[in-house]
Amino acid sequence: MNSCSFCNVVQDEKNVIYEDELAVVAMLQKPAVSGHLVVIPKAHYPILEEVPDNIAEHCFLVANRASAVLFDAFGAGGTNIIIQNGLSAGQTIPHFGIHVLPRKEDDGLSFKWQPKKITPQKIDEVAQALKDECDYIGQPVEEKKQETKKEEKNEKKIEYSEENYLLRQLRRVP
């Protein structure tokens, strides 16, 4: 048996209600509410950042359909989709999963948070930092390639100069 309980769910297929090549949808042994589903990629990725784009997209699409089915099958008045990314975010199982919860009025659950008061300075700071970082969304791969190419070029240049130097030395030898 594996130590990761989501990997076990994928292998056991006991509570699995849907399966395809990339992901499964399972019911948890201990659901937060009746009808609590979780979309799990079959391969083991601890957090979203490590999930390849195509699998992350697939999981979202599956979660969307699972949510739609909960609307239908449960007569749910709403659904919540929750991803806990990291221990600090409430993640208990070290395997990325998208929780899909059917919601009804007065079901005892609440995901309402208290708005925090943040100084305008801090907001500016955060906004600027995030904005700068997000400018790279969509083209980080190309940049990396360019960087590596430059490095290669530099190395080659060094080699050439070394050769030249050696050649020069050779020429100097009478």
Binding site: Y18, D20, F60, I81, F111
Partner: protein, 313 residues
Amino acid sequence: MYPMVTQEELASMSPDEIREMQKQQCPFCHIVAGKILARKIYEDDKVLAVLDINPAAPGHILLMPKEHYAIMPFVPDDVLAHLARIAKSLSKAILKCLLVKGTNIFIANGAPAGQQAPHFLIHLIPREDGDGIDVFTLPETTPGHEIGQDLPAISQQLYARMHDFVAQQPSGKTIPEVPKPTEEQLLQLVEQNQQLKEIITKQPAQFKQLAAAHPQLQPLFKGVDLEAFISKVLGNNTKKKAPAKEDIDLDAVSRFVEYVSPAPPAKEEQAKAEGKKKVFSQEKKEGKPKKKNETLKKEDIDLDKVIDLLGGA
């Protein structure tokens, strides 16, 4: 914030009109249009990410599609896939430049789920140990909520829904093949399905197009000799009926109907639910044309009657 609309006025509006009205009043559409100022974090042709004005934590981001969709089921797959990719990148950016230890990604669909805005939003919330945002720690079992009896019903509905989706994917192989209905079964279906019958008898050309292109009819009529089939149906059918309306956007209607009137199929399928695969194949034979029925709901057909008919099949 919203101009008053009486219940009567609401009831008389078409879904498109309601959507249009929501759009005009939606604060997030105004943000997208630049009428309301917001701190934009990321923007491309499909999506926009801004800082939440009532943040749970510094750096709380709202990611939204630029087009107005009320809830997640209305969001088209390509937009949702794009949102997923951007959400991943944004989460990465939060971890990297705010030096936090985790993120929560949160979506609320519908008022009971805590949705407050009429626009589909993805919340990205930076998390740290002891930050006091404990709402996303899921309870292990709320009393009275053990694993439900409804499991087979959900399972087969999910399979049915995913089948269409996976069929479009090049990698979709693991979904079990649905046994093909025989011609007799098809004829029976058409007999019980007035809408379909009407189309076949009145507009055989349109039916041929539908059988080839419509996502729900296509798998049923794949490999069936349509000419022969139509003539058989015509042989069975002697009554003459009013011609069906043309130019129906079947997909749009079916999408709408699928989500707006989910109750009858759910009941019916639940009643039938026995085993995953067995029921699934039933769903394929009976459920598909039923959906087809619903798609043509605009033509003033008594839907309950049709479902009764199908239930007896």
